[in-house]
């Protein structure tokens, strides 16, 4: 055994499962919380995320005397500025933040996050996450978050349309439609099964992928990473002009021909009804929509969808699949809170097998998605997501990447979103977009500090999947 392994490296290793079962861990968490006193905890959390957690929070309150009822209801998309403001002010007001875990590097850099490893070691807690999903909670070897939401992009195909046109497909391509393996194949499928020339007439468009300024980059990253690309080289120079990045830009733009003309202005409130209403054919989307597509009360397309692995790319010379987790809802503990220990115990409680299963399996509030190994074999979860839905989530979790897991995540992604949006609507050319992104990324690196960001590269790369395709 190599005794020269550093503490940092040890802390970065996945925690080994404890013998004796999970109820043992639950009990240890309760006892640790009881010995830390009682409090009324306060958090910044979107009500849509909080609702399915309420029952578990009440159970915790009954067992320990510590409540979590006082919440500041802010959408996960707009919570980061509010949380950063709390951090800069070193405010002790809030104990917990439920926020996109891709903000961990930024928030840890402000010095506002409590390290959770000591609490985890105290009770023998481990995530038991699928793939490398637990690494999304780590930064520079320390753990800062408890995931509640296994948000990962999953492939959706309106299979009813495929079945209806399967023989026509076979006649044209000389093979049965099985599953699009690459981005190019997906576009080919979209052109065939939802031809753009008839899209307006039938109000049935090929792509459900978002192309608005706020979200477009989420899709672009999948295309970059599956081409074998990365956002920066080892010296923290942006790689936006690399062949892989150019491929990602060009592939992203190719979807325009199969997208609704109003896609540049649509977000999830516009796209989800189109999905459940059967007005789009295919795309990658947050897995939380699977229960909505399978919900007989709201879906007009019940049983018409198939879910699976997102497309990959052969650009690098081998097939690589990359999905994305963004935003990834996680509970982070405020270092400046005098109740941080209790907040950490509650966060772990909500992430235990028994509690997290109930949270992610909620059929109505589908904002928390499955992420742990135990969720993949849970009947409760399968009831909401269907077995094929769960199987597809498990596949995509194994190849889930972050957008940019660095300090300055919001700035990098907004710049990329801006330039992608400008190129998509034709205000600038793709080559101008690439050039601007390269330059602006370089400016951000300079402003944030190249040395600092280089030191974070290890954490960023640690979050990337370790396999090219799921098992």
């Amino acid at each position: 055994m190599n005794t020269a392994i550093s503490t940092t490296a040890l802390m970065a290793l996945p925690k080994m499962a404890t013998a004796g079962g999970h109820s043992n861990v639950n009990q240890k968490i309760i006892e640790a919380a009881k010995s830390a006193g009682t409090a009324d905890l306060k958090g910044i959390i979107w009500a849509l995320y909080y609702s399915p957690m309420q029952a578990s929070c009440e159970k915790f309150a009954e067992l320990t005397g510590t409540n979590f009822k006082d919440i500041k209801d802010i959408s996960i998309f707009v919570a980061p500025p509010a949380v950063v403001a709390e951090g800069v002010a070193k405010s002790p007001e809030f104990d917990l933040f439920h926020i996109n875990s891709n903000m961990i590097p930024t928030l840890a850099s402000i010095g506002m996050l409590e390290e959770l490893d000591p609490y985890m070691d105290e009770v023998g807690f481990e995530y038991n996450a699928v793939g490398t999903f637990d690494t999304f909670m780590k930064y520079k070897g320390a753990t800062y978050g408890m995931p509640t939401d296994g948000n990962v992009h999953t492939q959706y195909i309106h299979w009813a349309t495929v079945e209806k046109n399967a023989s026509a497909y076979e006649d044209k391509f000389g093979k049965s439609p099985t599953w699009p393996g690459t981005w190019e194949e997906e576009i080919e499928w979209m052109n065939f099964f939802a031809p753009p020339s008839k899209a307006s007439e039938n109000d049935y468009y090929g792509s459900m992928n978002l192309r608005n300024r706020a979200n477009g980059a989420t899709w672009w990253f999948m295309q970059l990473y599956s081409a074998g690309g990365f956002t920066f080289d080892d010296d923290m120079n942006p790689t936006m002009t690399s062949d892989e990045a150019v491929y990602a830009w060009e592939t992203y733009m190719k979807y325009k021909e199969v997208s609704h003309p109003e896609a540049p202005g649509w977000g999830t409130p516009q796209m989800i009804p189109r999905m459940t209403g059967g007005k789009v054919f295919s795309g990658q989307y947050w897995d939380g929509i699977i229960p909505q597509c399978e919900n007989p009360e709201i879906s007009k397309t019940l049983g018409e969808w198939k879910y699976g692995l997102v497309p990959g790319s052969d650009f690098s010379g081998k097939r690589i699949y990359r999905s994305i987790s963004d935003p990834l809802g996680a509970l982070l503990v405020n270092k400046h809170s005098p109740r941080k220990a209790l907040a950490a115990y509650l966060a772990m409680w909500l992430t235990t097998e028994s509690e997290s299963e109930a949270i992610v399996a909620d059929p109505k509030n589908t904002f928390h998605d499955p992420w742990a190994k135990s969720h993949m074999t849970s009947d409760m979860v399968a009831k909401s997501y269907t077995s094929s839905g769960v199987a597809s989530i498990q596949q995509n979790l194994q190849v889930a990447s972050p957008p940019i897991y660095l300090t300055g995540y919001m700035e990098f992604t907004d710049i990329l979103n801006k330039n992608l949006s400008e190129a998509y609507v034709g205000s600038i050319s793709v080559s101008e977009g690439i050039k601007k992104t390269q330059e602006e990324f370089g400016n951000i690196v300079k402003k944030t500090g190249k040395r600092k960001l280089k030191a974070e590269l290890e954490s960023y790369k640690a979050v990337m999947p370790t396999v090219d395709m799921p098992a």
């Binding site: 500025p81 608005n212 300090t407 400008e422 034709g426 600038i428």
Partner: protein, 306 residues
């Protein structure tokens, strides 16, 4: 003579009595924020440093950076364009409604309420409701198709060439009542004698409007335009709720760009410097407006004393 001097002194003392507490409380509330903003605009502050006072002295470099920033120039241009067109739109429609409404008639109160409802509606509600109305296959295009008897598929929200114009339309709908109320008050405060005298002399209504009422209304009109213009420059909720600066950067106005710098890029020093530059621009506009108003008041006083 002595009496008028005493009156003047009393008036000045009264003005100070009324204004000083107001100025004092504003300084107390705004002062710390303005001071911190000034400090940040001369010192580069990073949210990753341990305190405000560790910010590095940059002198005018941050301001120079901002002034060289082409994205800032573009956002200033968009804001000025947006504010100018929406102000003119609000004014003409508001004034027109005021002209129809300023004389008493039956059910005047009902129309008054209807006309001011848009101003009472929360901007975010306007944004989300408008978004549904403005979809390509939404009600607005439906109505336009009926009127023009052909399919109208205008992309109000997703065409970068008209997105800013869409925000202008929402702004005009939202704030026309403001101009309406000011012009109603202006029309109601006009002296009746010049109008009656002109009517006796046989002047037409148009002549009375253009040669008597409009010149007397000029100070009110300038006030309505300036106040509306300043408010429009600060418009944010409707723009951000629907567009977030997009599609592309077509609706990236100054408030949106400052917001992005503050809360997405966390570049508080740059945002502070931008805010001061914009404030300076607004102060120049206000001073110009005050000068014009003072000239107008002098002209009216001369006219009335004649």
């Amino acid at each position: 003579m002595a009496r008028s001097l005493i009156m003047q002194q009393r008036r000045k003392r009264y003005q100070k009595m009324v204004l000083l507490p107001l100025i004092g409380s504003m300084l107390l509330i705004l002062g710390p924020a303005l001071f911190l903003q000034l400090y940040l605009s001369f010192n580069f502050y990073s949210i990753y440093s341990s305190g405000w006072w560790e910010a590095e002295w940059y002198a005018l470099d941050i301001f120079i950076d901002v002034l060289k920033d082409t994205r800032f120039h573009a956002s200033i241009f968009r804001s000025l364009l947006f504010a100018t067109i929406s102000t003119i739109g609000c004014f003409f429609i508001g004034f027109g409604l005021a002209l129809l409404m300023y004389r008493n008639f039956r059910l005047q109160w009902f129309y008054y309420i209807i006309f001011i409802i848009p101003m009472l509606t929360v901007p975010i509600v306007i944004a989300y409701t408008a978004e549904m109305i403005l979809y390509q296959k939404g009600p607005l295009n439906g109505i336009l198709s009926m009127i023009f008897d052909r399919e109208m598929m205008i992309m109000w929200i997703t065409n970068p060439d008209i997105a800013l114009f869409t925000v202008m339309l929402m702004e005009i709908w939202n704030w026309t009542p403001f101009s309406f109320i000011i012009m109603m008050a202006g029309l109601a405060s006009l002296p009746k004698e010049p109008v009656e005298a002109a009517q006796i002399l046989g002047a037409s209504r148009l002549k009375i409007f253009f040669e008597i009422q409009l010149p007397l209304l000029r100070p009110i009109i300038i006030l309505a335009l300036v106040l509306r213009f300043l408010e429009s420059m600060a418009e944010f909720p409707k723009t951000w709720a629907i567009f977030q600066g997009g599609p592309g950067t077509s609706t990236e106005t100054i408030p949106v760009y400052i917001y992005l710098n503050t809360w997405y890029y966390f570049d508080w020093s740059k945002a502070a410097a931008m805010s001061y530059i914009v404030m300076f621009l607004m102060v120049v506009i206000i001073l110009g407006a005050i000068k014009i108003l003072q000239k107008e008041n002098k002209r009216i006083n001369q006219y009335q004393s004649n």
